[in-house]
Amino acid sequence: MAVILENRFLGDEMYLLSAQYEGKAEPGQFFMIRSAGSFPLLSRPLSIFDVQEDSISFLYKVIGEGTKEFSRLSQGMELDLYGPFGKGFDLTPEGLNVALVGGGMGAAPLFYTAKRMRELNPDQEITLYLGFQKENAVVDVFKELNLPLILNFGGYVSEEVDYEKHDVFYTCGPEVMMRRVSSHGKEFGKPVFVSLEKHMACGVGACLGCTCKTKEGNKRVCKEGPVFPGEEVFYE
């Protein structure tokens, strides 16, 4: 049980929820989350947005009943957090110049990724590319990072990216977008890492509900992922 500190509405059905938390959690990992009670049945996977001294936060969009329940939560109420699960982004990439490319809620894991990377190596060059359907206050939150930030509303953020300039690409968002970043990266012979989304039941590798096909056979998004090299999962 984690006590909720804030559940801030950021426009366009998006919320930033923070809760008390002490413990480790790596960028790109996720939690299985449920608001108290037996409805809905399954916990919902949400990426780590940020971790602070005694708290953790999640950025989410209301999609269906589960996230709708989240949006009803307010300060002081409780939340079940199971995690952190999975393997996140490599924070010490080969290559000084990293592009983080997020589409919609795919932006969520990139905040903490950027923050931690810079902490680990202050010389790391980091550019954020974010695409949204509509203007919203999420963008303002990302501005706090004080990093180069390229925005796109209603278009294809994957096409804004300067594939020549950067050495390595981390991307999260709709599959079509991640495929495009992957194939552009490949054209330039540069590594791309993608963060996949699959429906999950257990989150810990037990149910095989989240399997994805990879070049090297089936892998579990919740355990071996969610972050994979693009060429390993988008190989056809």
Binding site: K198, C202, T211
Partner: protein, 300 residues
């Protein structure tokens, strides 16, 4: 003596709580929540003679108080299991149940033979997988086919044999009896109930295989009824499951006649379920002054 200790096919289980096949991996996956040796038993993911990639497309879909799954028996094969996961699983101090699936009678028999090499406790024969058919007819929905495959595997295996029944039948008692007569040492049920979901926005079936298997609290009343019927129909012990999500649910299955229970989907709701249930059942026995949990078995 431990109030939860349960004699089962000559083994002494610490308690009657077992992790159900396909929901607990190979025993290690939930370790971050609790030590799996706290459980009475663990049933492995369903294994087949040949490796299986499982089904394409969406594999999990939530329904009211349930989930539909279409995993499609993804597994590394019996052989690979014996080389890898088996060792880790055997190291856990808990009843080791290996769940065996197959496409043909021969595959079942061959799989069972391979497992004779290993020190497993119980072979759980999954004849209820909807994708597994004999002459167009799943083994698990026809008493004659069920009897046939049970008899063949009974001959092939040196282990205790538990047959896992499908709920997608008219007369569950007849199925249980057929398996008992063919030599099953125990019966487990229910496997998932065949169901379907349509993605109305996409105007398509959610699953590539159209139908999928329903589990979770939604099916609990159906499972409980079938366990009650099966326990009345046979003399061998019955292991009950289907939607168990609390110790009270477990109690209801024991009262309906189950010798032990299995927990599946409930663990996705609360990953600590196994541990908490064991603790809750202990408290229950104390409160109710039961020397052993077996005292309530079949009292309904």
């Amino acid at each position: 003596m431990n109030r939860l200790e349960t004699e089962f096919l000559g083994f002494t289980m610490k308690n009657p709580i077992t992790a159900a096949s396909g929901t607990f991996g190979y025993g290690e996956e939930f370790r971050s929540f609790y030590d799996p040796s706290l459980l009475g038993g663990i049933s492995s993911k369903g294994l087949t003679l040949f490796p299986k990639e499982g089904n394409s497309g969406i594999r999990i879909w939530e329904t009211p108080s349930g989930i539909l799954n279409s995993i499609g028996l993804e597994n590394p094969s019996v052989g690979r299991f014996l080389e890898e996961e088996y060792k880790r699983m055997r190291a856990i101090d808990s009843l080791l149940v290996v769940n065996l699936g197959g496409n043909t009678l021969e595959e079942y028999v061959e799989g069972a033979r391979l497992l004779n090499e290993a020190d497993i406790d119980v072979l759980e024969l999954n004849i209820s997988c909807p994708n597994v058919k004999e002459g167009g007819m799943a083994f698990g929905v026809d008493p004659k086919s069920a009897e046939k495959v049970t008899r063949a595997v009974r001959k092939a295996t040196k282990h205790k044999l538990m047959v896992k029944l499908s709920p997608n039948v008219t007369h569950i008692g007849d199925m249980a009896k057929a398996c008992e007569e063919a030599g099953a040492d125990a019966i487990s049920l229910i496997n998932t109930v065949q169901g379907m979901a349509i993605d109305v926005d996409r105007k398509k079936a959610v699953f590539d295989q159209t139908y999928a298997g329903l589990s979770g609290p939604a099916v609990r009343p159906i499972a409980l009824r079938m366990v009650h019927q099966a326990a009345k129909a046979v003399k061998v012990p019955v292991v009950g499951m289907g939607g168990i999500a609390s110790y009270k649910d477990a109690l209801s299955f024991l009262m309906a006649g189950a010798a032990a229970v299995m927990i599946g989907t409930g663990q996705f709701v609360n990953p600590y379920l196994g541990k908490e249930m064991v603790e809750d059942l202990e408290r229950y026995c104390e409160k109710e002054n039961l020397m052993n949990i077996g005292e309530i078995r079949g009292i309904v």
